[in-house]
């Protein structure tokens, strides 16, 4: 655990508009590769995430997106030769442990903890006294649509609410970089659109940097400042597509010509990669 990275104030307090080109690079990945046995998951992946940016990542299934996230979360080390820079400092992946707020695909709520206690799990482990953490979380509940649910247990909640508790846990763990791995993947289409708009609101209010994995192209464009398309395995960045759509974004955006044209570009790129990974697995 590298101490210099810790306790640096987060971007929360700065009031930079996400529309403005990011002033500084928060995370810089250079030549990141990862091999498991004889499977190469990532091969020379380069990416740069600016402070305050919302970057979405799409790609065919099994393209190493999750491997990328595990590396950025600090859970796995990339192969030798990779260069990771966080806030301008070179570091190992494991130095990122505790410096990135990570939300995996499943909500992973603890069934023996109430909504409020699940939400404070991360900050409680940081050492914040429980009472103080609860008071902080209680104030945030309405914003996450969970007012009045603080004493409920996860098995009493709907999928959308569970996902919001998990998001609240991620937001309360104040770190410059938030990693969200298909957080809405398991939700029905209607709930998902609601959650996407809500996430944009919360993100703009809190001014975080978000790296967001999805397999849904609409979601990638609707949310992102930039969309990164990952190639079929071994994964690297195939396409980097800036999304210059105005914010705040409303539901009508998805039918606008600009949106459709971006979607066409993305679909073509992904289609090509999906074919590759399909052929690789079927042997044609």
């Amino acid at each position: 655990m590298s101490l210099p990275l810790k306790n640096v104030p987060t971007a929360d307090h700065q009031n930079t508009s996400p529309q403005v080109a990011p002033a500084s690079t928060l995370l810089d990945l250079g030549g990141v590769s990862k091999t498991f046995g004889n499977v190469q998951a990532l091969s020379g992946l380069n990416a740069r995430i600016g402070t305050g940016e919302f970057v979405t990542v799409v790609g065919p299934s099994g393209c190493g997106k999750s491997t990328l996230f595990n590396i950025v979360a600090g859970l796995e080390e990339p192969d030798d030769g990779a260069g990771i820079q966080f806030r301008g400092q070179s570091c190992k992946a494991r130095d990122l442990l505790g410096n990135v707020s990570f939300m995996p695909q499943q909500d992973l709520l603890l069934p023996w903890r109430t909504v409020i206690d699940n939400a404070i799990l991360a900050i409680e482990m940081e050492g914040m006294p429980k009472a103080e953490a609860r008071a902080l979380a209680l104030k945030m509940l309405p914003e996450f649509g969970l007012a009045g649910f603080e004493k409920q247990y996860p098995n009493q909640l709907s999928g959308g609410m569970r996902q919001r508790v998990a998001l609240m846990r991620t937001f309360l763990f104040k770190r410059d970089l938030m990693l969200l791995d298909e957080p809405f993947g398991a939700l029905d289409a209607l709930t998902r659109t609601m959650m996407q708009r809500w996430l944009l609101d919360v993100w703009q209010k809190h001014n975080r940097t978000i790296l967001f994995i999805t397999h849904d192209v609409d979601e990638a464009i609707f949310l992102g400042d930039r969309v990164l398309v990952v190639t079929a395995r071994p994964g690297k960045i195939k396409l980097e597509l800036p999304v210059n759509l105005p914010r705040p974004r409303g539901a009508e955006l998805v039918t606008s010509p600009e949106f459709i044209s971006l979607k066409r570009t993305l679909l073509e790129a992904i289609e090509e990669e999906s074919m590759k990974s399909f052929q690789a697995t079927t042997g044609h």
């Binding site: 655990m1 595990n70 979360a73 600090g74 859970l75 442990l97 505790g98 410096n99 990135v100 707020s101 990570f102 995996p104 499943q106 992973l108 603890l110 069934p111 023996w112 799990l121 991360a122 482990m125 940081e126 247990y153 098995n155 763990f173």
Partner: protein, 251 residues
Amino acid sequence: MKSRSWQSADVYWGVAGAVLLVVLWEGAVRAFDLPAYILPGILEILVSMVDLQSTLMDATWMTVMEAVSGYVIGSACGILLAVILTLIPTLKRWCLPAAIAINSVPVVAYAPLVLLWFGMGAESKIVMVSLAVGFTVFLSALTGLDQANRKSIDLLRSFGANPLMIIWRLKLPAALPLIASAMRVSTTRSMIVAIVTEMLGAYGGLGWVIYQATLQIDFVQVWAAIFAASLVSLIFFGAVSMIERKVIFWR
């Protein structure tokens, strides 16, 4: 949901089963005119339980004290040992085969040695019960601690948690259902081990009463002691089950 249905229907069936057993028992004794040394009548046993009230109460109190002390000590040691071995995987690889080897022999086999080392008093019974309960709880706890979701562990690590925090906040609660079921089974086991050890050498307790009564060919008294033991075992089992349902509410 499960516990509610258990409370209503299953209790009636259980009571009905017990009544049927009593009727069959008493019926068999009267129909075949069985002598008391084969099978005394239930009424006779109950009357003797009242007559022997003070002897039985003392003996039951002693056995319960031994069983519960051993139960608490054994459970605590079992859980603690499992936590330590989970924190130090190398130690776990060293100790687990030995633990399984010791556990594969019925604990009662160690009773003569334990009596030799700890004497005829309550200490030897408490040690025996601790051993029996301890190993059961230890092995279940070890399995339970290993069962925590890999992804949940990774999530906690990403929050900067150290191994101790992961044990306390995630692995131990996740292991509770398995630990609790081992502790539930261990309630009756602790009574059995306490009684059997008392039979092998003691100054009091239900096992001692049974042994003495057998020597005196007083089989009604043997049955009276067995009834007292069953009753106490049932209460112990019921109490622990109730606590289990309260503590592990999320299942």
